[in-house]
């Protein structure tokens, strides 16, 4: 069978639209995920049993169930939740984009939380003592001394998780969203050009992810503190 390039060319703008949405989801997922994940990581280290218990339970739950299931949960339940919270009594229609953004922040935060937690554990315990001895408040110690070191120590892993996030976005297919894969699927079904579309999408994903993982490898080489 022949590969039809003309079909690919005419589909390109729509594919790019899908790619744009993919990148949007990734961006929101990374920022929201790292922020929420860091809060979860700090909560797990807290002395407050309720707080650390909740954070631990949340992280373990999110990491044990498939992303597709979480997508379904949020997709079906958020309209009900908002309806209930605002006393509408009936589900409130929520845009698919918002649902997707919320899902990815909630889901990826659990994974970023574990990475940030590992970052904290990689800091020499003496650093905590030094902060204490200098009289730094806990808040200042975390903001200026501990958190920067934790992130720096696990930056390559954080970036790798982001690459995984980028790949995970393809799963929004299950709610017929128009990300890169969704766009390709819609064209494939409309024009019957399955092979070209899926191969193209495969290549696009490959280029992005391969380039990103090469970048991470380079970064790993340069991240040591320049020790003598």
């Amino acid at each position: 069978m022949r590969v039809d390039l003309a079909a690919l060319v005419s589909a390109w703008p729509f594919l790019m639209k899908g790619l744009w949405f993919t990148l949007e989801i990734t961006l929101v997922g990374v920022t929201g995920g790292i922020v929420f994940g860091s809060l979860l990581a700090v909560a797990r280290l807290s002395q407050n049993r309720l707080l650390s218990g909740f954070a631990t339970a949340y992280v373990n739950l999110m990491r044990s169930i498939p992303l597709i299931l979480v997508i379904f949960w949020v997709f079906f339940l958020v309209p009900w939740a908002i309806g209930w919270l605002t006393n509408h009594g009936r589900p409130v229609a929520v845009g698919a984009s918002l649902t997707i953004f919320v899902t990815f922040v909630l889901f990826e935060a659990a994974y970023y939380a574990e990475i940030v937690r590992a970052g904290f554990r990689s800091i020499s315990p003496g650093q905590y003592s030094a902060c204490e001895a200098l009289g730094l408040s806990k808040l200042n110690a975390y903001i200026y001394i501990l958190f920067p070191q934790a992130i720096r120590n696990v930056l390559p892993i954080l970036l790798t998780q982001t690459i995984i996030l980028f790949q995970d976005t393809s799963l929004v297919y299950v709610i017929s969203a128009t990300d890169l894969l969704g766009a390709a699927t819609k064209i494939a079904q409309r024009d019957g050009r399955l092979v070209e579309m899926y191969l193209t999408v495969g290549v696009i994903y490959f280029i992005f992810c391969f380039a990103a993982s090469q970048f991470v490898k380079q970064l790993q080489g340069r991240l040591s503190y320049g020790a003598r």
């Binding site: 003592s129 030094a130 001895a133 200098l134 009289g135 730094l136 001394i145 920067p148 320049g226």
Partner: protein, 242 residues
């Protein structure tokens, strides 16, 4: 300056400090020595609250430390500490290491903090390294920065927990020189150390600890020439063999 009254501490059922009593006058230099596991490190860390105590009290200047006392902010401004593993902040420059506690804890304006940092770093001989990161310095240099960092808060007491134990031999002296200079300027110092030369030359008192107790206290000369207790004698015999 520092009064230690009947201080005891337990780790579970193991008693790591047993009814320790001591008195340190302003301007005195005290060396704490003893075999490993004797509790010296734990003991010195009780003086700035890094280790809690289970009974007894510690009085540092006007501050009273007892079991259950939690607000240690003022204590930490009065007492500075230098660690065996230096514990500089690796992601900050040397200059920032010395200014950060000044600005965040004492609330000093940035310009004033930097001014003080520069003069302290000059005092310890590191003016040429202000913008470097700790990993670019040798162990001896890092420890000197750590001393400057602690001095930047204008403490009245300086605690040293085995400051030279992690250093290669050729760098030990540069740190001891700084500590000696500090002593000559009248700083109250408590040092856990194995450096007997320093102890003999600079210390006013020596506390010998073994098994969680302060077995013997004496002035430096007496301790080294004529130790009273059997355990002290055995300890000195082992160390001074070198």
């Amino acid at each position: 300056m520092i009064e230690i009254n009947n201080v005891s501490k337990f780790y579970g059922s193991f008693q790591v400090l047993k009814s320790c009593n001591a008195s340190i006058a302003r301007g005195e230099v005290v060396v704490i020595c003893g075999p490993s596991g004797s509790g010296k490190s734990t003991f010195i860390k009780t003086m700035n609250g890094l280790e809690t105590i289970d009974s007894g009290e510690i009085i540092v200047g006007n501050f009273r430390l007892a079991p259950g006392v939690t607000n240690l902010a003022t204590l930490r401004r009065t007492v500075g500490m230098v660690f065996q593993s230096f514990e500089l902040f690796p992601h900050l420059t040397v200059l920032s290491n010395v200014t950060i506690a000044q600005t965040k804890v004492l609330g000093r304006p940035k310009a004033e903090a930097e001014e003080k940092a520069r003069s302290l770093l000059a005092r310890v001989g590191l003016s040429a390294h202000l913008m470097k990161h700790p990993a670019q310095l040798s162990g001896g240099q890092q420890q000197r920065v750590a001393i400057a960092r602690a001095l930047a808060l204008d403490p009245e007491v300086m605690l040293f927990d085995e400051p030279t134990s992690a250093l290669d031999p050729e760098m030990v002296n540069e740190v001891l020189d700084v500590m000696t200079g500090l002593a000559r300027q009248g700083m109250t110092m408590v040092c856990v150390t194995h450096e007997m030369g320093f102890a003999r030359g600079v210390a006013n008192q020596v506390f010998f600890m073994d098994g969680g107790e302060i077995v013997e206290t004496a002035d430096a000369a007496t301790f080294f020439d004529d130790p009273q207790s059997e355990r002290a004698k055995a300890f000195l015999a082992k160390i001074l063999k070198h």
